[in-house]
């Protein structure tokens, strides 16, 4: 397979068909049943766009996100760690992913994942009130949020203001359905994007169809 760099430790692999892969930080270990590839003595994991919205955005032609090796990333809505594991590949052992998840059921997988990937710092708690968890979260180079809540945009704005370093970028996976079931999804996304633009500069908005239905990834920059 031929590799073309996308972000640190992330590549488009070509062998007949094009697919996104990330350098496996824990060789021979799969996280969610993804395919593993051996290329030039290194192991890569397929980054599945149907399972991960960041991957979907890249498949849809988004420009590479700004986080890189050694960065500190704050990840809100970590779930069992599917996407977190790829972010962990990107920042590598030199970086850190602070991964916040509210549900203890999802948290179990996330915690077990963190035991083999030492750069994941799991936090079980509500992204609305990270301070209540009573554990330190430092300023971060990149913030990513994927939580299906009605107030997701407000949660994102609050946390970007609080934790993202000035000049840093952040991305939110917006799910129209969880904000407003009755209105046209495109209109909902537009409203939310407008809300974001009152606090930050909106850099890009990517509709993730057909990989993720009713979802958009919106990227902002903090002034």
């Amino acid at each position: 397979m031929e590799l073309k760099r996308v972000m640190d430790n992330v590549y488009w692999g070509f062998n007949g068909r094009k697919r996104l892969v990330s350098l496996n930080m824990t060789p021979s270990k799969q996280v969610y049943g993804e395919e593993l590839f051996d290329i030039g003595g290194k192991e890569y994991r397929e980054w599945n766009p149907f399972r991960s919205k960041i991957s979907a955005a890249l498949y849809k032609g988004a420009k590479p996100l700004s986080f890189k090796e050694g960065d500190t990333v704050l990840y809100l809505g970590a779930s069992s760690g599917t996407t977190v594991s790829h972010v962990s590949d990107v920042v590598s052992a030199k970086g850190r992913v602070y991964a916040v998840e509210i549900s203890e059921e999802m948290g179990v997988s996330l915690v077990l994942l963190s035991e083999s990937r030492k750069n994941i710092f799991p936090i079980i708690g509500d992204a609305r009130r990270i301070e209540d968890v009573g554990i330190a979260v430092p300023a971060c180079d990149f913030l990513y949020q994927d939580i299906a809540q009605r107030d997701q945009t407000d949660i994102f704005i609050k946390n970007v203001k609080k934790f993202l370093k000035p000049g840093g970028e952040a991305a939110i996976a917006l799910k129209a359905m969880s904000i407003d079931v009755y209105s046209d999804p495109r209109k909902v996304i537009m409203e939310e994007t407008k809300k974001l633009s009152r606090s930050f500069r909106v850099v890009a908005s990517i509709d993730l169809y057909p990989y993720q239905k009713g979802h958009s990834l919106v990227i902002i920059k903090k002034g």
Binding site: R96, V108, S114, E115, K118, N119, P122, V133
Partner: protein
Amino acid sequence: MDDKPRSDNSKYVEEAKKRIKDRLSLDDFIRKLVAMDAETKKAENTLFKALFDTYFLYFPEAANLIRDKEKFVSTLSDGIKREEVSSRLGIPANSMGYDLSETDLSSISDALSQLVGLSGLRTMINLKLSSILEEKYINLFKVAGPEIASKLISLSGSLKSLSEMPSGKLQVLGAEKSIFNGRKAKTPKYGVIFFHPEIQNSADRIKGRVARVVASKISLAAKVDFFSKEDKSGQILKKMRKEIDKIKNGT
């Protein structure tokens, strides 16, 4: 922790484990058991329907007489062949049904034991729920009864949220859920407390007012269980009786 090497996440992992452990509580166990009971009940009904239809094909004259699940199981548990069942029901053994082979019949027998197994499982789950409630939430156990109490805890999420809930809301808790399918239109005034014996045994015209009393006493029981854990059920039940009698006597 900042002077440790850059990728030592062990403090976070330990803290996360602790938080998960703290949150997986007795109330969660109750919720899971209630969910398991509901799923088992669904499985039981699905299997019963399929089994009934198959048996109907073989011996419609008998099947017609045992449409009720309990009756179906008790009638067939000692043998399902026409010769056996006909004498048990006092009907002729010759039938309009389709003749099934020995092996087909033994498959039906196997399925029947699975059905019996499912209902045994439900009995076990409910015994477990009952003993948990009796041991840990004695006031709810006595005032609401174990079945209603565990459903209320499950629906509200925890004893804490149940104890904080206004009794008007407690009264209709579960009304929107599937257990009320079909009955929904008739009983918007009650949720799971509808099955409380005090409500069941009241005349229709006073059911609503009785439900209000029952809900308020269950709410009180939840508060006592949450705050003091003392057994005050005797007093609560006495008060409940008195208020319901008042309604019944029209005073």
